[in-house]
């Protein structure tokens, strides 16, 4: 069956899915606003995503990495906009942006060792130096943790999306689409199923409840099992991946929302560019990509 279902067909299917959702957006969704909140209806993102996927499938790594770099840059820019920072942090912020091309290069060249090391070791070591040479005291540890977290999450962890492609394009496709689908579908499913919301999220309007996450798992596990032969996974691993995707997606949104709540910008305004649009699209991938990458690299290669 692996021969029958090719990447090209999957990409085409993704485009058709998006077209279907566009139709849904203009027919059913306006009549059922509680079941289809804006998160699902945000179709521009799905169009971008599917074009990106199609480009990756048909033209290879370079457009994929360009798109990934852009996403990483935009998400990082949003993150640095909302976190408190001092003037003395400018150098460190620059360094964070600068780490993006390095990570992308190691992904492109498939240099696994350097990809895994660069951010957690070298950027980690360089950031405090850049902050320390400014000589400005007061808040250096806070700045370090804020900036360092951003680089780890939005450059390093997102870099794994690219490396998944290098590992196996089929796996990249499966995980990217299922993660995004899980992240988006969990919101209406949680509304549908009810139940206590996950912590912090109750004041933000974005509800994800444990029941909703379980329901989404009930959708994603069969999908993942069905894609197992295409991906070349044993049923056991398909089951594991299918279970991990909804759980990690929920974790990602929980973490990003905790941070937003901590800064005091939870809730309103997430629909405005620069105020969490990209961050919200990437939050689930930041968690699924690295964990599943290591899982698959260990068990399935």
């Amino acid at each position: 069956m692996g021969q029958v279902l090719t990447s090209g067909k999957l990409a085409t299917a993704a485009l058709i899915l998006v077209a279907g959702m566009t139709a849904l957006r203009f027919t059913v969704a306006p009549r059922m606003p509680t079941l289809f909140p804006t998160t699902l209806v945000r179709l521009g993102w799905w169009w971008c995503l599917s074009l990106f996927v199609a480009a990756a499938v048909f033209f290879g790594k370079v457009p994929l990495l360009a798109g990934l770099g852009l996403a990483s840059f935009l998400a990082l820019k949003e993150y640095f906009t909302v976190i408190p920072s001092r003037q003395a942090d400018r150098g460190a912020i620059w360094l964070s942006y600068l780490s993006i091309p390095f990570v992308l290069y190691y992904v492109w060249s498939g240099w696994y060792g350097m990809f895994v090391l660069t951010v957690p070791v070298y950027v980690f070591l360089l950031l405090p130096i850049v902050l320390a040479v400014r000589g400005e005291r007061g808040g250096i540890l806070l700045s370090l943790s804020r900036i360092g977290f951003g680089v780890m999450l939005l450059v390093y962890c997102l870099g794994y999306v690219g490396y998944l492609y290098v590992l196996d394009p089929r796996w990249f496709l499966t995980i990217l689409l299922l993660t995004e689908f899980a992240d988006q579908v969990q919101v209406p499913l949680s509304r549908f199923a009810g139940g206590a919301p996950l912590p912090v999220e109750e004041e933000t309007g974005l509800h994800k409840s444990a029941r909703g996450v379980l329901l989404s798992a009930a959708l994603i596990i069969p999908a993942c099992m069905a894609l197992g032969p295409f991906n070349g996974w044993e049923p056991l691993h398909s089951l594991a991946v299918g279970t991990l995707i909804p759980l990690l997606s929920a974790t990602g949104s929980l973490v990003v929302y905790s941070i937003r709540a901590d800064i005091g910008i939870a809730g309103a305004g997430a629909l405005v560019p620069g105020r969490g649009l990209m961050l919200d699209r990437m939050r689930a991938l930041c968690y699924t990509a690295p964990v599943l990458f290591h899982y698959l690299r260990y068990f399935c290669t």
């Binding site: 820019k77 906009t81 909302v82 408190p84 920072s85 003037q87 912020i93 560019p273 105020r275």
Partner: protein, 471 residues
């Protein structure tokens, strides 16, 4: 359009706008207030060289190409390549910041631009200053508005640019910014009032959007409010006059009143100040001090009350950013006057001046005060009030004052006799003289005998307004 103008538009579309949109990133809000305007004066806050770029990019190209930012000649007016390029690309009007006279009136060049039917972008702060801090607006924009009453003036709030590229930085850091257009204003009364109204509008916008830019803009004004004391003996009506002054001054920006009760004037009305932590405690201490029959008890309770009052003043200043704080009887003036009465041999003029300096933190304390007048040191340590910038000293015949006090029907305090009030009045006058001569405080001696309350308040308010506006 001329070929030069085409080229300029092309550079904007191909270089400037992609740069501001993708590398920096900006959100525009309130753009409907400039939609369709043929001519306008934009007044923006200024923290960065990016401010101009962002305002240009957030306007439709047609409007942007007719916009002329006002720039400093000493910065952009030079013959170097950078200056020439910037002048050409943004149609700059350069004005001199140093050579200002009737012959070199900087407004003239701006007026010529407006006469041609073009628009102006002005930064009334005059300089970029600290990131995300606003300097007071200068009156130039108000003069401009007065000469062109038909052209709408639009306040523009640019946030985040100071973070991306603060003064002194040569490379911008990519972070999102916000450009918000406020609703258009017209010239109002005096030029300074127009400038203040613009400043207030921008401040409000900054406060709303600030939380998206890394930090709520510092609540504290970079400027100190003007401190004004209304001083006089009991029965002179200082509390009522203080209330009215607060009310009269608050038409443009908030004014706080500090005394036995806390006041806040906004938009010409006294408002409820709301719940402030500690206000109850202060009231309790105040009653405790009044009830105390032994001097030490009175002093301790009073000191605690003043410390609390000082804390509340800080809270109010941070929360409401008043442009003036009006005291009902200034603590330092009171202490000095009472000191002169209580220790006539110890508290001569020199000592009195010294004590005022020590209490306000301007002078250094000496051992003498530790031994003889620990109250002075205690006030410096626990309730350091600033000396007032201006003082209204109410003068009244002690006999009249006594009659008024008696008519209140309350229990009289120890010092409330005509003779003691007369001496207190003399002491206040002496302190007022001292403040004027040693510390340059402006003092108005206001004779309230035979004046109605509103006449006296009017006079006091006029004086205070003058002080506040002249800085």
């Amino acid at each position: 359009m001329r070929p030069g103008a085409w080229l300029r538009a092309l550079v904007h579309v191909l270089l400037v706008r992609p740069f501001t949109r993708w590398v920096i990133g900006f959100n525009v809000s309130g753009s409907e207030s400039v939609r369709g305007l043929k001519q306008m004066v934009l007044a923006a806050n200024h923290n960065s060289h990016l401010d101009g770029l962002l305002v240009f990019s957030s306007l439709p190209l047609r409007q942007a190409m007719r916009l002329h930012p006002v720039a400093a000649e000493d910065y952009f007016g030079q013959g170097d390549l950078w200056g020439m390029l910037a002048r050409w690309l943004f149609n700059m009007v350069t004005i001199s910041r140093t050579r200002v006279s009737r012959r070199h009136n900087p407004l003239e060049r701006m007026q010529r631009v407006l006469d041609r039917g073009d628009s102006i972008l002005i930064f009334p702060e005059g300089t970029r200053g600290e990131p995300d801090r606003m300097a007071p607006f200068q009156a130039g924009v108000g003069h401009l508005a007065k000469s062109f009453p038909d052209i709408p003036i639009v306040p523009v709030c640019v946030l985040g640019a100071g973070r991306s590229m603060p003064r002194g930085a040569s490379v911008p850091v990519p972070v999102w910014t916000t450009v918000e257009f406020g609703s258009p204003l017209r010239a109002q009364g005096r030029p300074a009032e127009t400038a203040a109204a613009l400043e207030q509008a921008i401040r409000e916008m900054a406060e709303r959007a600030g939380r998206w830019h890394g930090a709520v803009p510092e609540a504290g004004d970079s400027r100190k409010p003007a401190y004004v004391a209304v001083v006089g003996i009991d029965g002179s009506g200082k509390s009522s006059i203080q209330r009215r002054v607060v009310e009269a001054l608050s038409s443009i920006r908030p004014v706080a009143g500090i005394g036995d009760v806390l006041l806040l004037g906004r938009q010409g009305r006294l408002e409820d100040i709301g719940w402030i932590p500690g206000a109850c405690l202060k009231q309790t201490l105040h009653r405790l001090a009044k009830a105390s029959r032994i001097p030490l008890g009175y002093k301790l309770a009073k000191l605690a009350e003043l410390a609390m009052r000082r804390h509340l003043q800080d809270v109010i200043t941070l929360k409401f950013r008043p442009h003036a704080v009006v005291y009902d009887g200034h603590p330092l003036v009171n202490v000095a006057a009472w000191g002169t009465l209580a220790y006539p041999e110890l508290f001569n003029e020199r000592r009195c001046a010294e004590a005022l300096g020590i209490m306000s933190g301007r002078g250094e304390p000496s051992l003498f005060y530790l031994r003889r007048m620990p109250e002075v040191l205690a006030l410096r340590l626990f309730a350091r009030f600033d000396l007032p910038d201006a003082m209204v000293l109410l003068k009244l015949d002690p006999g009249t004052a006594m009659r008024r006090i008696e008519s209140r029907g309350e229990e009289k305090q120890m010092h409330e006799t005509a003779e003691k009030l007369g001496r207190l009045q003399k002491a206040y006058e002496a302190v007022g003289r001292l403040l004027r001569e040693r510390y340059g405080v402006r003092v108005l001696e206001l004779d309230v005998d035979g004046k109605t309350l509103s006449e006296a308040s009017q006079e006091a308010a006029d004086f205070v307004r003058q002080v506040v506006e002249c800085g």
